[in-house]
Amino acid sequence: MAITISAPRDELQPNGMRRLSAMVGDQLLWFDVPADLETDLRGEPFIIAALLPAMAANQPIVGHPDLPICPVLREGLDRLQAIFRLWGPMLRLDLRPVAVDVPLSAAPPGRGAGSFFSGGVDGTHTWLEAPEPLPCAVFVRGIDFQLDNPIYDQSFARNAAWLAERGTTLVPMSSNIRWVGRAMGLGWNSYFGAGLGALAHVIGFSTTYIAAGHTWAELWPDGSHPATDPFWSSETRRMVHHGRGAMRWQKLERIAREPGALEILRVCWQDKGFNCGRCEKCLRTMVLLRILQLESPNFPPLGDLRVIARLVPQDRSEAAFVREALALAKGRNAHEVAAALATSLRRWEARRTIRMIDEGFLHGRLGQRQVRRPMA
């Protein structure tokens, strides 16, 4: 058995968007881009999308004769397999190196530098601090938003206007790649580097800046990572992992200095309005806004700090944000906030300790918890 790329299509949709698609195994993977976007139907997005599912299924990848990939990416796939093979257990996956049989041809030229932009903290910071001007950015429906969420249009309009004032064109894009990954057994936390790499090859920037979600001190295995992101590149379409030098609060401070940036700030993944104000991502942002004495109209005020104190970080990623916010709160003499964050952090540490006690003394009988990411 193999994961075969088949049935490539390039079609104009009724909504005026152009759909590039192919079957990745038994899953239809599609990308919708503006009809006037200069891009080619090639193998890079589909082979990239297939890699981790193929490793998880221990099945080789067979490309399509009409969908070649760049030799540089082909070498990159070997490097990626060497890394993800080792990371598998920490991502709760069994990832095995597989053969990749795909035709090769030189990559077409890229079309200028760009980045992913959803109005969130990391993406906005990367847009502001990229080492070169970014004439284009892309906002993808189906990544941060469900495909049918109407808030996307509202958010797109705000983001596009803000960027246009600054000389950047925001390009709309839709894709079901997140859901294809899920259907093939890959959660987005493990898959999003590949997802962004595939999207980047469709959009065709010569350099795509991928915003980091963590710092250099937080290098645990993750879907997007400075060790792996560059290897999704082709010769003419380079992926650059950007932003590890700044902590989240530093990014927020930088964003706040840019007029209007806090008015477009959107971090929520819950599809309940612009920012739900209740989920971990929203609360993490709201607490930083409070410590930094900043305001965004897109978030309810953080009144009752008990909601922070009751927050239980689900994994080391969320714990890292709490730790960072706690250090900031102490440094800024925000004592009440610091106390609430300290309580939250103690909940995480207690949870870890209980898990170690369970594994050490009780042979795991307290039971496995469902976590979004594995604990250390």
């Binding site: 257990p89 920490m90 250099w216 001190a217 290098l219 645990w220 870890r352 006690i357 050490g360 003394f361």
Partner: protein
């Protein structure tokens, strides 16, 4: 406190049998000596590599203007190098660096080279990744400052392994380890600077630094796959090699040539031979036992090395290696009894860590970590979760 760390007095002392290159960093003369330095280019890059972390630790600018030029490519990467280090350890602050810049575009003087101590990582790097006629570079004053007698013994051992691998051994001596102790920066933090300095003094087309860890462990460390390549110049590419392999896989590759085991050096405690008792020795011996290879080259070989290792699993650093041992067992017969023993050792480790964490929560003052005097890669806090 001076305003900047100034590097001065670049010197080259060439003799028929050896060349010494030195510079004074602040008030400390750092020197490197070896026959292989006869053709060392006149560049400031080596001393930039050595001086950067002390300058960052002191929070003062670094002035290399009295030295020969520094590579423009390397200089452009210093921002990211400093960004990584200051993120890892906030006690390391970003500093301004002044230097004369010039691209180092002369053709390299030699082929490719690999740092080589005759240990698992280095031997694996040569077996799996060396070019033809690879130069193997052994440094005294890097891991240990050996006496002349000890250095001669160690060099002879390394030379035997090098010969078996078909590589040409070059030895370098330096007082670098005294320099890093003088600045109270732990070797685990700064050793990359020494290796990079030697790399740019020897100036091969590519210098390989064998990885200490696999991609599973990206803890801040003096050499690192995300850091080392940034130290490349136009002439010399710095390559960090071996992260693709687990340590047990490296040992298995080496063990396919049993004659290499006679002189393989892994010991944490003894620079001359493998004591057979320390964690590194027992860990390696355990892997050899699992893959069915005799533990040649280890001083103590009595008793079950696997049992000895499992008893000795002392701290959470071994959790990754314990997992590797488990994977190795699964690949070599998957002995259920042995897997149970490994899992029991893992539970024992978890118990120790859990009790330590409980103690830290319940008795925070008593549990306060005694501050180490030398700067560790991650500062004074606990080992970061990476």
């Amino acid at each position: 406190m001076p305003n900047s760390l100034v590097v001065t007095r670049y010197r080259r002392n060439a003799r028929p049998d050896t060349t010494t290159i030195s510079a004074t960093i602040g008030d400390f003369e750092v020197w490197f000596r070896g026959r292989a330095l006869a053709d060392a280019p006149e560049r400031g890059d080596p001393f930039l590599a050595v001086a950067l972390l002390p300058a960052m630790y002191a929070g003062i600018d670094l002035d290399l203007q009295q030295l020969p030029p520094v590579s423009a490519r390397l200089f452009a990467a210093l921002d990211q190098i400093q960004e990584i280090w200051s993120s890892w350890n906030p006690e390391l602050r970003r500093v301004a660096i002044q230097a004369n810049l010039a691209p180092d575009e002369h053709p390299s003087t030699a082929r490719t080279a690999t740092f080589f101590s005759g240990g698992v990582d280095a031997v694996h790097a040569v077996l799996a990744g060396a070019g033809p006629h690879e130069r193997l570079v052994f440094v005294n004053g890097f891991d240990f400052a050996m006496t002349p007698g000890a250095w001669a013994t160690a060099s002879a051992r390394v030379a035997r392994v090098a010969e078996k691998l078909g590589g040409e051994l070059e030895t370098i001596e330096t007082n670098w380890i005294s320099f890093t102790r003088h600045h109270r920066i732990a070797r685990s933090t700064s050793h990359g600077g020494c290796l990079v300095a030697v790399a740019h003094l020897m100036a091969p087309a590519r210098m390989t630094i064998a990885s200490s860890n696999s991609w599973l462990r990206l803890t801040p460390w003096g050499t690192h796959p995300l850091l080392d390549p940034l130290w490349s110049t136009e002439r010399t590419a710095i390559r960090h090699f071996g992260s693709d392999a687990l340590r047990s896989e490296k040992v298995a590759l080496i063990a396919a040539r049993p004659e290499l085991l006679d002189d393989l050096w892994v010991c944490h405690d003894d620079p001359l031979e493998n004591c057979g008792r320390c964690t590194k020795c027992s860990r390696t011996m355990a892997v050899l036992k699992v893959i069915g290879v005799s533990a040649r080259g280890f001083r103590v070989t009595e008793g079950d090395p696997i049992a000895a290792y499992l008893r000795a699993v002392p701290n959470s650093w071994e959790k990754v290696y314990l997992g590797e041992l488990r994977r190795t067992v699964q690949l070599h017969g998957a002995d259920p009894a042995l897997l149970r023993r490994i899992d029991a050792a893992g539970r024992a480790l978890n118990r120790r860590v859990a009790l330590r964490e409980l103690r830290r929560h319940l008795l925070p003052r008593r549990s306060a970590t005694r501050a180490t005097t030398d700067l560790r890669p991650w500062g004074l806090g606990p080992v970061p979760e990476v």
